[in-house]
Symmetry: C2
Subunit: 151 residues, 2 copies
DNA sequence: TAAAATATATTTGAAATTCAAAGTATTTGA
DNA sequence: TCAAATACTTTGAATTTCAAATATATTTTA
């Protein structure tokens, strides 16, 4: 195969990976959670995840992490609070801020979600036998940081 | 670094790539289209793309490609038809089927969308200098087919 | 310090997306 | 032929999200 053709093919594969495949992951995750008896939607799961990942979990910081408006987040946190998944209190230092936290009920769900991710990743690694591929890993690391920093 | 730690790190990176990053691609694409004066939503773009990609573009085939119900697709095609982006006609062989096609107005939009994808991919390849990395490409190819076939 | 500007969050009304269920028309096959 | 299967549309409801308006608290500035 010619060099240009290889390059073109490579680009097509990365493009496919980034677009076609990733579109399905949400649905796959959602179905998995439903099968494990979790009643929350994926977007609610994402809110819970973001709360645990962000350093100072105020409404603004969580919304930024999620890429949604603070208004949208308020709507979502309202129902999560109602259902008993999150705590919510004013910051004592700066009373404009609301600090959100996940309650045990949420941790249970997040654990299930995390289990699924681990299974998925392990299955990929086993099937593809890529654990020893240093070059792949370092390239993926670059690819990952590229997305984090570029947009 | 120990072997187990390297493995753990590798898995974390793939997980991050599959989860954190893909969540943003839709929004990134949407913003880009808006900046190019395109009035359609990403979900409408996906419908148009699916129409061009599927072999026999009937409602059922297009919906299957998209992973949505035929009812949802009908709603979307209704507005795309109204706005003059797609054609719509009964199959002469089997009059239950509706064959959908993209009109010039849609091709224009798809071209812009495609331009963006190419720019994104080219910029990744240039920055990372990975075009010669055969191993990466073959692994990504496996990763890609893994997702296509496993779910 | 008091007023103005800024920052944080909530509420509300509307739009978009999607689904499930019910309904219509056409084709298939027993 | 006619009952079942297939292809599609319509409808009503749920979810998600946003923008704009509103409310408070804090910081800046005049």
């Amino acid at each position: 195969m010619k060099k240009e053709d290889r390059l073109r093919e490579s680009k097509a594969i990365v493009n496919e990976l980034l677009v076609d495949i990733f579109n399905r992951i949400l649905a796959i995750e959602g179905e998995n959670l439903k099968s494990r008896g979790v009643k929350l939607s994926m977007s609610e799961i994402h809110v819970l995840e973001a709360i645990t990942k962000v350093k100072e979990p105020t409404m603004t910081n969580i919304a930024k992490k999620l890429g949604i408006t603070v208004g949208s987040l308020t709507v979502s946190v309202n129902t999560l609070y109602q259902k008993g998944f999150v705590s919510r209190e004013r910051d004592v230092e700066d009373r404009r801020k609301v600090v959100v936290g996940v309650l045990p009920k949420a941790e249970e769900v997040l654990e299930k979600h995390n289990d699924f991710h681990n299974e998925m990743i392990n299955s990929i690694f086993n099937d593809l036998k890529i654990e020893e591929d240093e070059l792949l890993i370092s390239s993926l690391k670059k690819l990952s940081s590229y997305f984090i920093n570029s947009f």
